[in-house]
Amino acid sequence: MALTTAPDPTRRGTGSVRPDATRRGTGRIRHGEGLAGYVFLSPWLIGLMGITAIPMLLSLYLSFTNYDILTPWSEVEWVGLANYERMFTNDPSWWHSVGVTLRFALIAVPLKLAAALGVALLLNRAWRGVGLFRGLFYLPSLLGGSVALAIVWVNMFNREGAFNSFLSLVGIQGKPWVNDPDWALETLMVLAIWQFGAPMVIFLAGLKQVPTELYEAAAVDGAGRFRQFVNVTLPMLSPVIFFNLVLETINGFQGFTAAFVLSNGTGGPVDSTLMYTLNLYITGFTDLEMGYASAMAWVFLIAIALITVVFFSTGRFWVHYSDGEEH
């Protein structure tokens, strides 16, 4: 139903209107139909209101209070902007967690996208068994943000872990990666990059859409492999790159599970893995400062929204849509 009523952007301005759309809305059953729509929507609607919208609004309210979970609602005090003020002026660990999260996202997201694109290029050929490799490369991202995977990671990258055993084979003295404040976050980045399967699959689909005539034309004009990649593949792929970039950036900022498991929920060693969301969780549930944690959540939401807006506004300078319309 949603499909038939949604405005179709490709038909915008062409003057073509679906014939049945003109007849709808004039019948007597219009009222009943709207109602039916809401009834059928109700499971989703109730979920949205109960699980997302109302709690979000409540947390907005709580962010202006000193709510601490244990105190009954009736005794919660309004503190105005105090929580926000404290965050920006008087909380070094908040700033620290912002730094950790930015570092994580700025390094892990581009590398993950590069890995995804690189492997997608390799797999975009008609080799025998290429399907198997696509499956294998996709596998890690199926495991997603799972706890089990994070536990495996800890055991692979500690002092006696498999990675150090491998290094010692080639004569390199390893480090206690996950337990070293200089390397713990980097270990988490490697984990994130390793799970490049999801953007890779999207890149693969994008690559398949690039018309082969373009490559042929470029080849006729004397363009080598690299020129073809820069002048044909990248521009044609830019909407897909854009999509992956936005999605992975948001995901990168929200990293939680691996950091939580690796540090036993503390953000250690020495706060090196204190990601924003982990800090928020500790503030809310261990320190019981739920009002302050709510304020942190809202600042986070606004920051991510701003970053997304920045992406969209710069997008028109480098994202090319091949359908010929200017977006």
Partner: protein, 446 residues
């Protein structure tokens, strides 16, 4: 949507009219169902609380392993046997995440009638009036504390209110690997050794065995606390810190010296051992010869290693240690069945059969008469060891400190951070100490 239900013709024939009618009925039916569902839910929820048949259901929540769950369930069954009108809704889980859940249950207005809590959180809950003040029950004799050691009982008092009843007693214990020492002909450490002597002993162990002699406890609040008390200071004093940055510097310097002498493991291994998880304690993972734990954790530690373990008090004057409530039973202040709930915790503490069932899983029984019975009857060697050490220490126990104040969980986390900063050489002991004290002040002020 199925095309048949889509009236695309302006002149409805009979078939379409019928489907329209049918659909209208369907819509009404669905609507009714949507509206009615929550009502049904609410009615069912009401049914839960209504004690129309004279029965009372007490919800109870604790953390621990399967062994504890088994023992506790048996003890509660015994209560039901003696009081057939009372049944229990039992919930338990591992330590990690327990307090998140307890806080969430409380926030949701649905906390358990009885819950297990420890001194890290007792003041947080008591200060917010979440716990029932048990004083009046104590006065009326419904809660019998006459056989409790006074200091243990006192350790459940926050702001003059009895916020929790000690479910067991324990104290700090230094656990060492006996097998390793015997194999290398090394002396066992003894209670009363000074901190210097302990570090010298650990250095000797490291040199002879290749296994670091002692875990570096500088990130461990309970070791820091004992050390402070031996210096005539305390962790808290009223609503303030009981120590200064100079004290912390001295503490960090002490352990920097130990690290420099090779008495402790490298910093990343120390960090591993700083996890509160019993299975990660270095004495059972073989990464150091001693670990800083609680005495009642001995049996659990023993299960995780094939080596023989010994346990003594922390170094220095043993009067720095005190009879600590390993954990408490608290009653939710808003409980509708508070009287019954108090009777249940009274039963768990004072009924001979129940105490015998529970054993020393939550620490030594708080009731001194029954503690003697249990100590004499136990056959588990690790348990005997911990009872023996604790009974010996009971003669020298100092006065109980005040229960840790609101903000304590943050103070603990900050101590770990500061100590690890110093261990990894990212800050000098003095710098780390200054940061720690500043962070603590912010934590307990907010």
């Amino acid at each position: 949507m199925h095309p048949a239900t889509h009236p695309t013709d302006s002149a409805p024939d009979g078939r379409i009219y019928r489907t329209a009618l049918l659909r209208r009925r369907l819509v009404r039916g669905l609507l009714a169902a949507v509206v009615a569902l929550p009502l049904v839910g609410a009615a069912a929820a009401c049914g839960d609380d209504a004690a129309s048949d004279g029965k009372t259901k007490i919800s109870i929540f604790w953390w621990g392993g399967e062994a504890r769950a088994g023992l506790t369930e048996q003890a509660l069954e015994l209560y039901t046997k003696k009081n057939p009108d009372v049944t229990f809704e039992k919930t338990w889980q591992a330590n990690q995440g327990y307090f998140d859940k307890l806080a969430t249950l409380t926030a949701g207005g649905n906390p358990p009638d009885i819950f297990q809590i420890d001194d890290n959180f007792l003041a947080e809950y008591a200060a917010r009036n979440t716990t029932l003040d048990l004083k009046s029950y104590q006065d009326s004799g419904k809660l019998d504390t006459s056989k409790f050691p006074p200091s243990l009982l006192q350790y459940g008092v926050v702001d003059g209110k009895l916020a929790g009843l000690a479910a067991g007693e324990n104290t700090q214990g230094l656990v060492y690997n006996k097998t390793l020492l015997e194999k290398n002909g090394l002396p066992e450490p003894t209670t009363g050794m000074s901190w210097e002597e302990h570090i010298a002993w650990a250095e000797q162990v490291s040199k002879k065995t290749g296994v670091p002699g002692t875990q570096d406890p500088s990130a461990d609040y309970k070791a820091f606390w004992v050390w402070l008390r031996q210096q005539g200071k305390d962790l808290y004093s009223g609503n303030d810190l009981g120590f200064t940055a100079e004290d912390v510097t001295a503490w960090f310097e002490l352990w920097k010296g130990a690290r420099d002498r090779g008495a402790t493991p490298p910093p990343d291994v120390i960090h591993e051992g700083n996890a509160t998880d019993i299975t990660k304690q270095l004495v059972v993972t073989g990464k150091s010869a001693t670990s800083w734990v609680w005495v009642n954790q001995m049996p659990e530690l023993k299960k995780n290693t094939a080596d023989e373990l010994g346990v003594i008090a922390y170094p220095g004057d043993p009067s720095g240690q005190w009879a600590r409530a390993s954990m408490y039973w608290s009653v939710f202040r808003g409980s509708k069945n508070a009287d019954v709930a108090v009777d249940v915790i009274n039963f768990l503490a004072n009924d001979p059969e129940a105490v015998e069932l529970l054993g020393t899983d939550r620490g030594l029984p708080s009731n001194l008469d029954l503690r003697k019975v249990i100590s004499d009857g136990t056959t588990d060697e690790a348990m005997q060891q911990s009872i023996e050490v604790e009974n010996k220490l009971a003669e020298t126990f100092g006065e109980s400190p005040q229960v840790p104040i609101k903000g304590h969980s943050k103070v603990r986390a900050e101590l770990t951070k500061a100590a690890e900063n110093a261990q990894f050489g990212r800050a000098t002991p003095a710098e780390a100490a200054a940061q720690f004290v500043e962070a603590c002040k912010a934590a307990i002020a907010s």
